[in-house]
């Protein structure tokens, strides 16, 4: 994966952006010294990148996140340090944009500077098994809503189709047609297919640009 300075992940609520963002930040850290993961979600108070805070810290990834994430307070707050993404050109970062257009609203504050610098990728994360984005048409609508709210254009698609813990290799392979249809409908390239690392060996030879992810496991 050839990372630009900024990699933004946006998409439908629950499509898997946060898991992907954590894994991409760790991947980016393998080749770059100064790496940050920025969480700009102002909608969802649960399942935040902060859940992986310790793993990121140990890997030397700086976490830029609202101090209220994962607390008992539900408040649409942005991280104090988010301007480092713009003001510090030596910093490479993965940006976890919130879900849907509502989640992408806060991105609009940064997008003029991101667009002017033009060293970014913004990927649309899709999951065929999410009920409101089952068709390429539905995905296209979500994509347009996000671009309108966040004032930034997507540059590629990441297929993260999964059924949680029940995902089989066939589920991933069976989603290829969907991912292609989304790519065609949106006019954007399919840049990655992301899977749980447990499925990686079974699929590595069958899918190009397969990205293995280490996922947070729930206790129950």
């Amino acid at each position: 994966m050839n990372y630009k300075r900024l990699t933004l992940l946006a998409g439908h609520y629950g499509s898997g952006k946060t898991n992907l963002a954590v894994n991409m930040a760790l991947d980016l850290r393998k080749t770059r010294e100064r790496v940050a993961l920025a969480d700009l979600d102002i909608v969802n108070p649960y399942f935040r990148s902060k859940d992986s805070g310790r793993e990121l810290m140990e890997a030397g990834v700086r976490l830029i996140v609202s101090e209220y994430a994962n607390t008992n307070l539900d408040i649409p707050a942005l991280p104090q340090e988010m301007y480092a993404l713009i003001d510090d050109p030596g910093l490479s970062a993965v940006i976890d944009v919130g879900g849907d257009d509502r989640g992408a609203l806060a991105l609009g504050r940064l997008s003029p500077a991101i667009a002017a610098e033009n060293d970014y990728d913004m990927f649309l994360v899709v999951n065929r098994f999410r009920p409101l984005t089952r068709s390429a048409e539905d995905v296209l609508q979500v994509m347009r809503e996000i671009e309108e709210a966040g004032h930034l254009a997507f540059t590629g698609i990441i297929d993260n189709s999964n059924l949680g813990a029940e995902t089989s290799p066939e589920d991933v392979l069976g989603s290829a047609g969907f991912a292609e249809a989304v790519a065609e409908k949106t006019g954007l390239p399919l840049v990655l297919t992301s899977v749980d690392e447990a499925l990686y060996p079974a699929l590595a030879e069958k899918i190009e640009n397969l990205f293995p992810m280490h996922l947070q496991k729930r206790p129950v």
């Binding site: 629950g14 649960y46 008992n72 098994f129 999410r130 009920p131 949680g164």
Partner: protein
């Protein structure tokens, strides 16, 4: 939707409600249940239904009263503080014998509390919550699949008994994502000859009301309603039994607490401790018969709760205090760990000399 999809528990409730024929949703946002409203806002306009974000929880529950009076399947949802606001309206629904579905995706309390999961609205749900003598049918899902299934069952029971059904979930079950299948057989909603649908000049007016000017009539209505409740208690109480074969230490837990407890019971059995779990699926009517039956082998019971101890009272009532019942709990949004529950089981095993 024959193929499984990946959904949050809250989304599964919304989709199941639509599948059950509910075309009217009224609500007001509050974490951790806002996904229900968000999902309805997207889906209802596409299928000719009504989604309305009311000006308050109180307005929403009274809109439910209106639609139910007209004989249609209708629902609202909220989380703990919002359910308290709906209390008056829920009592009016009960007083007018109107079917409806109310979802409470519980968060920590009392007061504003916090947004993390809780089960501390058990008393409010099972004892009524609003004023007056009444009950709701209270259903407690422990998975995303069951969120869908019990939503459909909730509508069916509500229509059958002309009662409010409540889904008593918690923030964890509402927020977690799991695969879910919507391969359900849906029963047609029954005829509702009592509904205010217009007489067509062919019958007398139907009246939906909870006001009775004559105390004798009000007494008579209350007594008749409790005869109906007795039938519900007799026919609808439901629990899941897990490793109950010869169980000497019987655990009671519902919702997210039951998932933790299952793992602890399994671990205890692996250690040779005869532990088992009764998971109430209906909290009202409380599945007393399962607990009475368990007394055949049980020497101690432990109630596992995300509250300061509420269901434990029903466990004690069901077993008539014939064996010791203790409590293992976490509150404030915390969930007991498998290890904490296992510890409680081990201590009980020592006490009974297992």
């Amino acid at each position: 939707m024959a193929e499984k999809v990946l959904m949050k528990g809250n989304e599964a409730i919304a989709e199941a409600a639509i599948l059950a024929g509910c075309r009217h949703y009224f609500g007001y946002p509050i974490t951790p249940q806002t996904e229900i409203a968000a999902y309805m806002a997207k889906r209802m306009p596409k299928i000719g239904g009504t989604f309305l974000q009311a000006e308050s929880e109180i307005a929403a529950i009274n809109m439910v009263y209106g639609v139910s009076s007209a004989g249609k399947r209708v629902m609202t949802s909220s989380s703990s503080p919002g359910i308290s606001l709906k209390g008056e309206g829920i009592s009016y629904l009960a007083g007018a014998d109107l079917p409806a579905l109310v979802v409470n995706c519980q968060r920590g309390g009392p007061g504003l509390g916090g947004i993390q999961p809780s089960q501390s609205d058990y008393f409010q749900a099972t004892r009524g919550g609003g004023h007056g003598d009444y009950h709701m049918i209270v259903l407690a899902p422990d998975s995303v699949q069951e969120m869908a299934q019990l939503t459909i069952k909730g509508f069916e029971l509500a229509d059958e008994y002309r009662m409010t059904s409540m889904i008593l979930a918690d923030g964890t079950i509402g927020q977690m994502m799991e695969p879910v299948s919507f391969d359900f057989e849906i029963k047609e909603a029954p005829e509702k000859p009592w509904a205010t649908t217009g007489t067509g000049m062919k019958r007398p007016h139907n009246i939906i009301n909870s006001l009775y000017l004559k105390p004798e009539k009000l007494e008579e209505t209350n007594i008749a309603r409790y005869e109906k409740y007795a039938v519900v208690e007799e026919k609808e109480a439901l629990a899941e039994e897990y490793m109950m074969d010869g169980a000497e230490i019987v655990l009671a837990a519902f919702g997210i607490a039951a998932r933790v407890t299952k793992n602890a019971v399994k671990a205890a059995r692996a250690e040779g401790i005869k532990a088992g779990l009764i998971r109430p699926v209906t909290l009202w009517p409380f599945p007393k018969a399962y607990f009475e039956k368990a007394l055949g082998t049980a020497k101690e019971m432990i109630s596992i709760e995300l509250s300061m101890g509420q269901m434990i009272e029903d466990v004690r009532l069901a077993t008539q205090c014939r064996i010791p019942v203790s409590l293992t709990k976490r509150v404030g949004g915390m969930i007991p760990s498998v290890e904490e529950v296992l510890c409680a089981i081990r201590k009980a095993a020592e006490r009974i000399g297992d």
